[in-house]
């Protein structure tokens, strides 16, 4: 009960600050927390990346193995994205089947990767209708301090960008080769705090938020995915404004996804 009360007080404080254009951690409304991308964090994965946005930490690992293409897409490989909000990352997560929050993170990340055609799935086909690569993108949230979608998608895209197709191990080809990544979708999330719309919300800001909106952009100037979440509303002009902001942040984060940084 006292948790609820302190959360309520914090929410009021966050909203009061937002009305003056301020944030609890001193950032401006359009400022991200520091971001680091550490590719190759897990040696057993075919591709991986540990992403930190402020205190939020998300690890993504890519595994490829030979499998069967879907009947309706015989010429394409298979891509599946899965996010786990494991109990280690927050006192509010419990073990068990994936909760709607985790499902939303994986669906929104998956949507951006798929819509942007990040990977040409037809290149993952080995024998049409019989054999193709199945690419698993698994996302583990290690520390939940807000804005999981941006951290998860940056980790996933970065892990794909640094992945190797284990062709030799599975005796599909003579040698392993790098996974071809054609596009770099970047997701950018905002929340409404009163009349202000701030980027990269913290856990407490998300709890105070009156609506959340994520925009995924690619390097070719296209919006490839969007998702409005939480309780709250945005006007069409709000949406147009955050799209503009998402393009700008996207540029910078894309360089991190490609190169990694410390």
């Amino acid at each position: 009960m006292s948790d609820e009360v302190s959360a309520e007080i914090l929410t009021t404080h966050i909203l009061d600050l937002a009305a003056e254009g301020k944030r609890l951690d001193g950032r401006g409304p359009d400022e991200y927390r520091p971001i680091t991308v550490e590719p190759g964090f897990v040696a057993t994965a075919d591709g991986s990346a540990l992403v930190r946005i402020g205190d939020t930490a998300v690890l993504s690992g890519v595994k490829l193995e030979p499998g069967k293409p879907f009947a309706d897409t015989p010429n394409a490989g298979v891509l599946t994205t899965n996010a786990e909000l494991i109990p280690l990352s927050s006192p509010t997560f419990e073990p068990g089947p994936p909760q709607p929050g985790a499902i939303e993170v994986s669906r929104v990340v998956d949507r951006a990767i798929r819509a942007a055609e990040t990977i040409d799935l037809t290149r993952l086909c080995v024998t049409p209708g019989e054999k193709s690569w199945v690419c698993y993108v698994d996302i583990h949230v290690l520390d939940h301090s807000g804005n999981l979608i941006d951290a998860a998608s940056l980790a996933a895209v970065s892990a794909l960008a640094h992945a190797t197709v284990p062709a030799k191990r599975f005796e599909v080809a003579e040698a392993d080769y790098p996974l071809e990544v054609n596009h770099f979708p970047i997701e950018c999330t905002f929340v409404r705090l009163g009349d202000t719309i701030v980027v990269d919300p913290t856990f407490d800001e998300e709890r105070a938020a009156q609506g959340r909106i994520t925009v995924a952009t690619d390097e070719a100037g296209q919006v490839v995915a969007m998702q409005k979440g939480l309780v709250g509303a945005f006007s069409p002009d709000d949406v147009k404004d955050v799209v503009r902001r998402a393009f700008r942040h996207g540029e910078r984060h894309r360089a991190l996804a490609r190169g990694g940084s410390a």
Partner: protein, 249 residues
């Protein structure tokens, strides 16, 4: 979208600028709305929208199950979107999949944004959406059905929630995609509008759109929602008027 290695792409836009079913770019499919279609539910509605058939029921405010979800200061709004196994061409595995869980979440949040939940503390308002026949745009049809069902159940709300998807078909921004346009089109952008405030409480997007196209798509969607809003109000009046319009009651 979703067309990797798929069959032949049909002609989505004729040289005259008409769509696969003869509609103009800013034209909705035929929509039929019926309120109060189920006996047991506190509120219900049936929506036939193009070749979609969607039923929605509302139960509540009633006791919360499971109990631990109960909130002391407001009603919890629980939304379940489900698609029947026979609703699509290739049988869908019945039960909860990730797609339905995500849709349930965003629709539930959309309604939480407009329902006066604080009027009914310690209760649950349960919204069930059943897609019986699907042809693109089922989440919007479900939202419209659920919104009418909530009104039918007498739940106080800021406003009804009209919803529609805008997409990109053969390079053009088009209102209310049907299945072929959704499968072979270049983008899909479902939205739900609060007509009173002009704000969106549901918004998703997948595909490819430039900033300028997205801006036009939003405006077209809002226009479509306002058209659907009128139909929704008419459907409610039909349900609750006791005689011929203008007659004594």
């Amino acid at each position: 979208m979703g067309s990797v290695g798929a069959k032949e792409v049909p002609v989505l836009l004729s040289p005259e600028g008409l769509r696969i079913d003869g509609r103009k770019l800013d034209e909705l499919r035929a929509i039929r709305l019926q309120v109060g279609t189920l006996h047991n539910a506190d509120g219900s509605a049936f929506v036939e929208w193009g070749a979609n058939k969607v039923m929605a029921a509302v139960y509540g405010p009633r006791e919360v199950h499971p109990r631990h979800l109960q909130q002391n200061n407001k009603a919890v709004i629980q939304c379940k979107y489900n698609m029947a196994a026979f609703a699509v061409d290739e049988r869908k595995r019945p039960g909860l999949d990730r797609r339905s869980q995500e849709i349930s979440k965003v629709i539930g949040e959309a309604f939480e944004s407009v329902v006066f939940a604080e009027e009914y503390p310690r209760t649950s308002i349960d919204i069930y959406i059943e897609v019986l026949q699907a042809n693109a745009g089922t989440r919007c049809a479900g939202l419209v059905a659920a919104s009418l069902a909530l009104a039918d159940a007498g739940i106080p709300m800021v406003d009804l929630l009209p919803a529609v998807a805008v997409g990109k078909v053969a390079g053009k921004i088009a209102l209310d995609l049907k299945k072929e346009e959704d499968n072979f089109g270049e983008a899909d952008l479902p939205m739900a509008l609060v007509p009173q405030s002009g704000r969106l409480v549901l918004l998703q997007m997948e595909g490819h759109m430039t900033e300028e196209e997205l801006s036009r798509a939003l405006d077209l969607g809002v226009q479509g929602c306002r058209e659907i809003y009128e139909k929704m109000k008419r459907a409610l009046r039909e349900r609750y008027s006791t005689g011929p319009v203008g007659g004594s009651s």
